[in-house]
Symmetry: C2
Subunit: 380 residues, 2 copies
């Protein structure tokens, strides 16, 4: 897609979201005003919803995409307010900061939460999950597909198999904020019930949208709910709206973010111009090369276990003898924004690099590798 | 502000929001990626928050602006989840569709809601409000400043005086979705406790932001709350975030909509380049001229009582003998999107024109008047 807009030279944002955006996506953000009920926008929203299904690799017509103004965090409220009832037991698999926050959000909705916490930089052992599922009746289990605080990726397929075996009635909920669009998620095939994400990571769209996907089982549970626990996060409210737009008709509950939804439409067109598996493989290769190149520079990667390392970001320990803030500032002076670490057990000890979307395809990662190498040399 | 971007010719969106946007605002929507914690974005968000105070005419340092990804609707959840406790009595003054939806949202949070409903196209009589406040103890009263279903404007100043006299402990909550930036609201002076709005109406920014303002009394009540009823809509969560950004420091709860917040910063700079009172007077004059010109064309305006007619939009009955859909389509063919009516008592009987922001300053309203005149002539 060619557009009459080229973004200005700027410091490249290579944090685990927001990521860099393509020119056509940013140009879509500047779309002149359209009524949220106009035929033009209805067509745009319809395309975005149809393609959101593809992003989750779903072909089940009874599963349901939701694109709502908000942030990834709103997805946690949607789970709490629609998929669990007060008092329900929920099993949270914690691989870091974001899993813990998800647990906190669910408690607001009176979930009775059990947390199994992984070792820092590792995932929760499968046998512990089996054991826990045997010992209690859980309404839902939550898996943070990629926890951006530690950059570990959980094996959703394997965990789903365990759940299906031990407790098939338990809803499988995936926090895919930092995974959808970069890590494989076979929504239907693995039997996931609800996966939530946000626009600003591997989906490649400026922040401002909660993007999520529910199985027919999850939708039924939400629609059958006797009492709503939220108005704005109510799937009872949003389901008919999404169905209307996807079928080419406008509907109103709250005004959609016309420009950001238009950007989503454009980004999904870009993403789906190759197969998702090709996209995941490309991200994995660039991520592996980056991690390997950093190791060659003497840097230590978190997690140490390569098998659980995410493809969309890399967490790196600061090297001995170099001040972390100085390193981040030095990399910044070379034109790249990277992020500090946020896991409470490792604060000030590591930094994080996001490599998703445009940055993977346009050679940003290779340039950044050089910038890190030069920064290390200059600080030594 | 001059920017290297000029939006394409397009059908002018003259509905009661989303409104037309200026070129600099749309260009800001296409701002290249910035980290939500970057110094550039922190400065932008700081400016937006400082100027949001001015938009509400507040100088109370203990009052608090909130700019959150979401839509106007989210503001209702913020009220329900933070400013009332389950079982609290709330008095809703209903002037149409949006007031009734606000009542519905509050019930989700277990408010015990009483509604006083105005005659269609009129406001709630003051004596009824006094009477009701005398007969019950209300934790809060809600006023829909402008109900976009009927285009009537409620007298917030007078109602606030009544509340202060009859029940000073009752929190005064204003739905300002279609009033902030076009109708006068003296937040401090009138003693308002919480006013909620959205980006896409008179604030002149694409949809995607909930923009609201709380008095120190409302903030205290929210922070003292024992149990949260929402995670994403929790003022306990958002207050420290807003305070940090306003003081020039980043903070994290959920990723802000960097591009839309940048557009808000630009739009507030534009709005505050003249005095707010000048802005309100300009809107009032253009609105009065428009209404008067439509009357001259033989069209009947809702509300009939000019004193309660809003300045940001006009609701117009379809003339006898002309099919409403034909008229809207004919006006559309001349390059203007106007909106159908949504009040359930008058469905299919009227249409609505928004005249806020750019459309008021750039002569769109005059062009639309001509288009309506021509459309009527062609359909007769």
């Amino acid at each position: 897609m060619s557009v009459p807009y080229k973004q200005e030279e700027h410091k490249l944002t290579m944090i685990p979201g927001p990521i860099e955006f393509s020119d056509p996506v940013l140009y879509a953000m500047a779309t002149p005003s359209q009524a949220h009920t106009s035929p033009e926008f209805v067509k745009t929203f319809q395309s975005a919803l149809v393609n959101t299904r593809k992003l989750f690799k779903s072909t089940d017509a009874n599963a349901q995409p939701y694109v709502i103004s908000g942030s990834g965090t709103l997805g946690w409220d949607i789970v709490g307010a629609n998929l669990i009832n007060p008092g329900d037991k929920v099993l949270v698999l914690s691989t870091g900061f974001f899993s813990d926050s998800f647990a906190e959000a669910l408690k607001v909705y009176d979930a009775d939460v059990d947390v199994i916490t992984a070792e820092v930089g590792d995932v929760v052992p499968f046998d512990k999950i089996s054991e826990q599922l045997k010992s209690n009746k859980y309404a839902a289990i939550t898996i943070t597909h990629v926890d951006t605080s530690t950059s570990v990726v959980s094996d959703v397929e394997k965990i789903s198999q365990i759940v299906k075996k031990e407790s098939p009635e338990t809803l499988i909920v995936v926090d895919g904020v930092c995974s959808i669009g970069v890590e494989n998620l076979e929504f239907d095939k693995w039997g996931v019930d609800y996966a939530l994400s946000a626009s600003q990571k591997a989906i490649g769209v400026p922040a401002g949208l909660s993007i999520s996907f529910a199985s027919s089982r999850a939708v039924s549970k939400a629609l059958a709910r006797e009492k709503d626990s939220s108005f704005f996060a109510s799937l009872k409210k949003w389901t008919p709206i999404m169905k209307a737009y996807e079928s080419g008709k406008p509907a109103y509950f709250a005004t959609p973010a016309v420009q950001t939804v238009t950007a989503l439409k454009v980004s999904l067109d870009e993403i789906l111009s190759e197969s998702l598996d090709e996209r995941f493989a490309k991200h994995e290769k660039v991520s592996n090369d980056f991690k390997s190149n950093l190791s060659k520079l003497g840097l230590k990667i978190l997690p140490l276990n390569e098998k659980v390392a995410a493809s969309g970001l890399t967490a790196v320990y600061f090297p001995d003898g170099i001040n972390g803030n100085d390193l981040i500032a030095k990399i910044g002076s070379k034109g790249f924004t990277v992020a500090g670490g946020i896991h409470k057990a490792l604060l000030g000890k590591y930094f994080r690099v996001g490599h998703m979307g445009v940055s993977v395809y346009d050679g940003h990662v290779e340039k950044l590798t050089k910038a890190i190498q030069d920064s290390l040399a200059e600080l030594k």
